[in-house]
């Protein structure tokens, strides 16, 4: 059967397909070539190149922007796995720059300071795939309509606290179940209520799944956190500050990779959790003000 129909449709599928290849894997935040090599040797399926991990962005404040292309290039040269990098919400020029240096995936991320308070990037204009954060089905489908090839929960990045990621993943699952059970004549109203395009809502109802891969992100710090997200239905896991802010990044990275591959096997999870040293310190979310909550960025 022929697949060749038109170029932009091919691109859309190829980009969703790359996300499928990452399933069951761990994507790790790294800030330099040496960390990228540790991540790859530990079994990461991809790395996210950024100048400061979310925990440091949170601590140091200031405007968080796209990373220096030089630093991204050094990471690209250090590993063979896909390299992702972040742009600010709405900052389509940062995205153009990342496309020019052939980053494999662009994360339009609430972890960086938003550049536009009204519009996300029109991702259909890019050949490079995008991943975007979402707290619920409506937000996920808005991002997919804009051209995202992959979705991740927002969680609450840089806190080492998994509670928000759990909330977002459960919400998504509940809503997918809800929409799948609705009679077709109620789909338009449902689409209006969650602020999502009807066409995509119909697709979700029919397939009982998002049209793209959905990873967990934001607050994953331990092998058990990662396996929890997988058992809740995540296709894979992003780990940001959790690895390189812990006392033994290499062992923790290896342990989280194992935990994601064997997420349903408690004996292996126990082994992976054994003697790992201290996890990142973490933040109690009740101590955060609304402005300090990154998940509230984007809409």
């Amino acid at each position: 059967m022929a697949v060749k129909d038109n170029k932009s449709n091919d691109r859309k599928l190829l980009n969703r397909n790359l996300a499928q290849m990452l399933k069951g894997g761990v994507i790790m935040d790294v800030t330099n070539a040496e960390q990228a090599q540790i991540a790859q040797a530990a079994g990461a399926v991809a790395v996210m190149a950024l100048e400061r991990v979310p925990a440091d962005i949170r601590k140091e404040g200031g405007v968080a922007r796209m990373s220096d292309p030089k630093m991204i290039a050094e990471i690209q040269n250090a590993v063979t796995i896909p390299v992702m990098a972040k742009v600010r919400i709405g900052h389509f020029v940062e995205a153009q720059i990342l496309e020019a240096i052939k980053v494999d995936f662009i994360d339009e991320s609430e972890v960086l300071t938003p550049a536009d308070d009204a519009y996300h990037i029109d991702k259909t204009k890019f050949a490079t795939p995008f991943v975007c954060g979402a707290r619920d089905l409506g937000e996920a489908l808005r991002r997919i309509a804009e051209g995202a090839s992959m979705i991740r929960t927002k969680g609450e990045a840089g806190t080492g606290n998994v509670v928000e990621a759990v909330k977002h993943m459960r919400k998504m699952r509940t809503q997918i179940a809800e929409v799948s059970a609705l009679p077709t004549d109620q789909l338009a109203t449902y689409a209006k209520e969650i602020g999502a395009p009807l066409e995509l809502v119909r697709q979700v109802a029919k397939n009982k799944a998002l049209p793209v891969v959905n990873f967990a992100a934001g607050g994953v710090a331990t092998p058990a956190d990662a396996a929890l997200m997988m058992q809740l239905g995540a296709d894979g896991v992003f780990v940001g500050s959790g690895i390189f802010k812990s006392s033994d990044p290499k062992s923790r990275a290896e342990a989280i990779v194992k935990a994601v591959a064997y997420y349903a096997d408690p004996t292996i999870l126990a082994g992976a959790s054994y003697g790992l040293g201290e996890a990142m310190r973490g933040v109690d979310l009740d101590t955060l003000t609304d402005e300090q909550r990154l998940a509230k960025r984007g809409w």
Partner: protein
């Protein structure tokens, strides 16, 4: 007949679905353990990241039992990362299973922006081919049959019970012909 899909990482569910669509009598299961491996008549090593797969294969002691089964005649099919793991030589790194007399170069077309789709003949069938950060076969051994080519390079090869494709038939959800071809290999060796 039961076909296993190595379930450590990558396009596992896609392969399972297509195998199950071939024929009601053929079952497809995820293989993560030695015990599960023992129950299958053929094995698919899916697309994913080959560096991740080889680390997990080592960690969970699957290298030796898989290699022994394939050497004893069990059909195996590697797609993309799976092809890399089966190859006798991998440019710039240590080979893994070394069960297929080809040399490969990883990510040979470039980065994701260079991923592409193509069409061509696969053993007499005209098929779509999805290449995602695909490897290139740089040498084909004398005993290896080339089943498909793209721009003069082998992209599907077979050596006895070992099948490998640089592209991803599992990503074309409506076309199970290459899965049917592999099921035929498994059927014939039973």
């Amino acid at each position: 007949m039961t076909i296993g899909v190595l379930g450590l990482q990558g396009s596992v569910a896609e392969h399972i679905k297509l195998i199950k669509s071939v024929n009601k009598k053929i079952d497809a299961i995820v293989v993560r353990t030695i015990d599960e491996l023992a129950t299958v008549d053929g094995l698919i090593i899916p697309g994913g990241e080959s560096t991740t797969l080889r680390i997990l294969l080592d960690e969970f002691k699957l290298y030796t039992p898989i290699k022994a089964r394939v050497e004893a005649g069990m059909p195996v099919w590697g797609t993309c990362a799976g092809m890399i793991l089966l190859a006798n030589r991998i440019e710039g790194e240590r080979p893994y299973f070394g069960l297929l007399d080809i040399d490969v170069k990883r990510n040979a077309y470039g980065r994701q922006i260079d991923s592409f789709v193509a069409e061509g003949d696969f053993a007499g069938m005209y098929v779509g081919m999805v290449f995602i950060r695909a490897p290139i076969v740089t040498r084909v051994g004398a005993d290896v049959e080339v089943l498909a080519e793209h721009e003069g390079k082998a992209v599907a090869v077979r050596q006895g019970n070992v099948l490998a494709t640089a592209f991803h038939p599992e990503l074309i959800a409506k076309d199970n012909r290459i899965h049917k071809y592999f099921c035929g290999m498994v059927e014939n060796c039973k």
